[in-house]
């Protein structure tokens, strides 16, 4: 964040409430551009909600979200969502084949995806080409997660939001995906915000870290803060995760 470049995403006093329940409060801070920010915190902390605010699936009840220098409300929803891609936590699948899912982002723009493009996406996420014509109902949880990642990549977004994308993967696949994400950062300068439950993963992959609890940001900084936390709440969270 030493450069003059604006952060990828910035929050100013963001609050989010639904049906009178406050889910996020007093969110301030930013996600640096061209870096990987890990977002950690216990479940129910509001991580997913925060991510959905970043690509306009939700709007803050009050406060402001900036994408680059631009106030999020000033970006047309369709542009925003292609520019800020999200891999959803539950990896929802469109009924049909793997190809139908990979081709979805282009089809939504009235374009068609070539088989070569689809193969390239499969390879990126470590899936064999033969999966292309598989019915999504026949995929394992881990395979779905990979298809879900590949599908979002089809939009070539400059900011990527990843919501627990390796939770159903085996060790080898986790490493493949971590390499893929590092690669996206390096070769296409993508800014990445990565929610993860795995603190080792957070330390391993990220350049910057946010810790959230009870709808608030309790700490931001270098990922190493997880190794010897000074903040009491972070310490408690880290200890809880190690149990």
């Amino acid at each position: 964040m030493s450069s003059n470049e604006p952060p990828a995403i910035q929050f100013e006093n963001v609050h989010y409430a639904i049906d009178g329940n406050t889910i996020l409060q007093n969110i301030n801070g930013s996600f640096p551009s061209g870096k990987i920010t890990a977002l950690v915190g216990p479940s129910g902390a509001g991580k997913t909600t925060l991510l959905k605010l970043c690509n306009g699936l939700l709007s803050p009840t009050s406060g402001a979200v900036y994408i680059g220098n631009q106030l999020i409300e000033q970006i047309a929803p369709l542009t925003l969502r292609r520019q800020v891609g999200i891999v959803l936590q539950s990896s929802p699948m469109l009924k049909g084949t793997v190809f139908d899912n990979l081709a979805l982002p282009l089809r939504l723009q009235g374009k068609e995806m070539t088989t070569d493009e689809a193969h390239a996406l499969l390879e990126k996420t470590g899936l064999q080409r033969s999966f292309l014509n598989f019915n999504v109902l026949d995929l394992s949880g881990g395979q779905r997660q990979k298809v879900s990642i590949a599908r979002t990549l089809a939009n070539h977004s400059s900011i990527l939001l990843l919501d627990e994308i390796t939770s159903a993967l085996d060790r080898t696949s986790v490493h493949e995906i971590e390499e893929l994400v590092q690669d996206l950062k390096q070769t296409s300068a993508t800014s990445i915000i990565w929610i993860t439950h795995n603190l080792d993963q957070a330390v391993r992959v990220s350049d910057y870290l946010w810790v959230m609890m009870d709808g608030q940001v309790v700490e931001t900084g270098d990922p190493s803060i997880l190794e010897s936390p000074t903040n009491e709440r972070v310490l408690k969270f880290v200890k809880g995760e190690q149990l």
């Binding site: 929803p77 369709l78 999200i86 469109l94």
Partner: protein, 251 residues
Amino acid sequence: MSYLTLSLTLIFVLIPLILSKTLGLGLQKDTLIATVRSIVQLLTVGFVLKFVFDSESFLFIILMVGLMIAAATQNARKKGTGIRGVTWKLVLTFVSIELLTQSILLGFHIVPATAQYIISLSGMVVGNSMVLSILFLNRFSAEVEANREIGELILSLGGTPKQAIHRQLITSIKASMIPTIESQKTIGLVQLPGMMSGQIIAGADPVQAVQFQLLVLFLLLSTAALTSVLLGFLTYPSLFNERMQQVSWKQ
């Protein structure tokens, strides 16, 4: 039929009453209410119709049809609570379908432009449209709720609200039309349509009655298709806000 013979038909009310009492079904009160209501309502309609037919006034015809549409809207809107502007959307649906079907019926001289035909056929069109719209709204809101994640997925990838709702809309339109189509496949085999039976009993030529029944069947097929398509396209925008986010109909 004389009023004396009509009163003899009450034997058919007595039978369920006796059964209900001896078997302890506890349906006596409801049976009585239903009986009284059907007598009062139908006789009133009968007298009103007689008055309208005799008057031969176009104004009364329009008034009658307007009343039908108002009643149908009142009934169907209960199923659509939570949908923004559901009342006028239903009214618009019913009025459009009524106008379209009557223009075809009268424009091509398929039926004569008399109160008898206009009111009877309007009653069937509006009544059917009402049932279809309740079926459709039920199915559509269930379909939308069951597919919220897919809707969110499509929006998240840069799809429009229309793209996010397309499959759910098509599924619901299809589902609400199927009963109409299916019932037409077996018509005449299992039971004679009530309207046709009525005509035959009243002394009409059976072939004539069949021809008329066919007209009604085709009319209702059209009504079924138009109702769900119109209502679907009128209601789906209220599932989204101006930032293209999903909002809930439930409230």
